[in-house]
């Protein structure tokens, strides 16, 4: 059948391209999540620091990057980023244009957005740690760093997992907007296949199904992580989760 051939791995089949694009989406999302983890941790720390200036900066970051449409941010980074890199290059004596590769620009843009959501997740997780457990750590003479490493971090991770699952979903879908940078991720490949074959519905539906596949895969990963992290929680709380 023509449809099967179009989706297959044969000469006229888009199977291979779609597979590569799915992996590309996975790679961009994972990279963005990582960038977001670093930024999110920094911003959450700033917002919890109690220092007026840092708290203010943290609030600006989370307000702006959650409040401005993702597409605009991607454009700003993709074009603005190139101009910045080129300017630096010229200052260093390099003639001509330098650009952020579309993977880097896309992952950076989505990572910055993801960071604003992750910051809130980490902040909430920190606040969920029982105050008494922090006091207990101080009471046996743990210093700040030790307390952070031994008591705060493990618990922040535990409380953050469900929220991170949501952030992953958001980041996965934001990655679809990177198609404007020309990166051959799943969304763009579906669009290109649709435009080149004029089989719009076929390729949009297939694209949607592939996204659902990624979602169910990541759901499974996060559920497992949550169960692992919650093994120290009472059974009742687990049932609720």
């Amino acid at each position: 059948m023509a449809t099967l051939e179009l989706l297959g791995f044969g000469q006229n089949g888009w199977g291979a391209l779609l597979l590569v694009a799915t992996l590309m989406t996975l790679a961009v999302t994972a990279t963005a999540l990582l960038i977001g983890a670093v930024l999110g941790t920094l911003v959450a720390t700033a917002k919890l620091s109690g220092n007026v200036l840092l708290v203010g900066l943290g609030n600006v970051y989370t307000t702006v990057f959650r409040g401005v449409p993702e597409l605009l941010i991607i454009y700003l980074i993709y074009f603005g980023g190139s101009s910045a890199v080129t300017a630096v290059g010229q200052w260093l004596g390099y003639e001509g244009f330098l650009g952020l590769p579309s993977f880097a620009a896309g992952a950076l843009a989505v990572g910055i957005i993801s960071g604003s959501y992750q910051a809130e997740v980490y902040r909430g997780a920190y606040l969920a740690i029982a105050k008494g457990e922090l006091e207990a750590a101080s009471a046996i003479g743990m210093n700040r760093m030790l307390r952070l490493r031994r008591v705060v971090m493990p618990q922040v991770l535990r409380y953050a997992i469900p929220g991170l699952g949501n952030v992953w979903q958001l980041t996965l879908k934001d990655s679809a907007l990177i198609s404007v940078t020309g990166l051959a991720e799943l969304m763009r490949t579906s669009q290109v296949a649709a435009g080149s074959t004029r089989q719009y519905f076929l390729f949009y539906i297939v694209g949607g199904v592939l996204y659902l596949l990624l979602t169910s895969f990541s759901d499974r990963v996060f559920n497992r992580a949550e169960r692992r992290a919650n093994r120290s929680m009472p059974a009742a709380a687990m049932g609720q989760a």
Partner: protein, 257 residues
């Protein structure tokens, strides 16, 4: 800078001008023409696909050196980028559902030549009357959009789409009555629609669409533009453009002298 290499961008999803094959390679009229032009200009070219939105800013940001994506040469665009001489010039026409009462409107099959700003063309006035109160779909921010607004804005309803393909789907769905676009683009779309769509009214040609489609190049790169100008001239002169055009469009889109 002596141009030994250059990067050419195109969308890769605008059949038959340019499209992507199932193996990921680019094909269509423009990629094949690009190969010829680069050989003649003695430049080693790389083709990269990118999104239509933002193609011009990306050119100016230095992400590629040439745009070859059925880019019409217009005054607005000339303020931002430079163009080569045109390698194609295509007529435009209305399309409608084959079974629509609007099919075979007056002048179907004929050709009308127009210049920018021209009014009082009798074929157009006839269409205005025939299409009064109907909905016309156009692709936003094209020369065709401007034409429709200027001539049909008062009598018909106009709906703007982000891409021609989406407009074609809605034409089939019956949300709109008419579409207006590049006639060779339509020709290809009709084939995919299995005869559900058809031209109606005359083909409109001439300077009204500007000089035609040319390569977009950064203003600073005049030497690159000149090299491609030479190459295009020679490809037009020896009929290479015509051959490729017949292969992909079934009509000759070579610009008139």
């Amino acid at each position: 800078k002596d141009w030994k290499t250059a990067t050419i961008t195109l969308e890769g999803a605008y059949a038959p001008w340019n499209l992507t094959n199932a193996d990921g390679t680019l094909g269509g009229f423009e990629p094949e023409l690009a190969k010829v032009l680069c050989e003649r200009a003695k430049i080693e070219c790389t083709l990269v696909a990118s999104d239509w939105d933002g193609m011009i800013p990306a050119l100016n940001a230095g992400k590629f050196d040439v745009i070859m994506d059925a880019l019409s040469i217009t005054e607005e665009r000339k303020q931002i980028i430079d163009f080569t001489i045109p390698y194609a010039a295509t007529p435009a026409a209305f399309a409608t559902a084959a079974d629509s009462p609007l099919a075979n409107a007056a002048g179907t099959g004929a050709t009308v030549k127009m210049t920018p700003g021209e009014t009082g063309v009798k074929e157009i006035d006839a269409l205005k009357e025939a299409f009064a109160g109907k909905t016309i779909g156009i692709q936003a921010a094209t020369v065709y959009a401007k034409f429709i607004y200027d001539n049909f804005g008062a009598s018909s309803e106009i709906r703007e789409y982000k891409t021609g393909a989406e407009r074609d789907l809605d034409l089939q769905n019956g949300r709109i009555d008419l579409g207006f676009d590049d006639a060779v683009y339509f020709g290809n779309a009709f084939a995919a629609a299995n005869g559900a769509l058809a031209f109606t009214g005359p083909e409109i040609v001439g300077p009204i669409w500007g000089e035609g489609e040319g390569l977009g190049i950064r203003k600073a790169d005049t030497d690159l533009r000149d090299k491609f100008n030479e190459a295009i001239k020679s490809a037009l002169a020896d009929g290479t453009v015509k051959d490729l055009s017949m292969k992909w469009f079934k009509v000759d889109v070579s610009p008139a002298e």
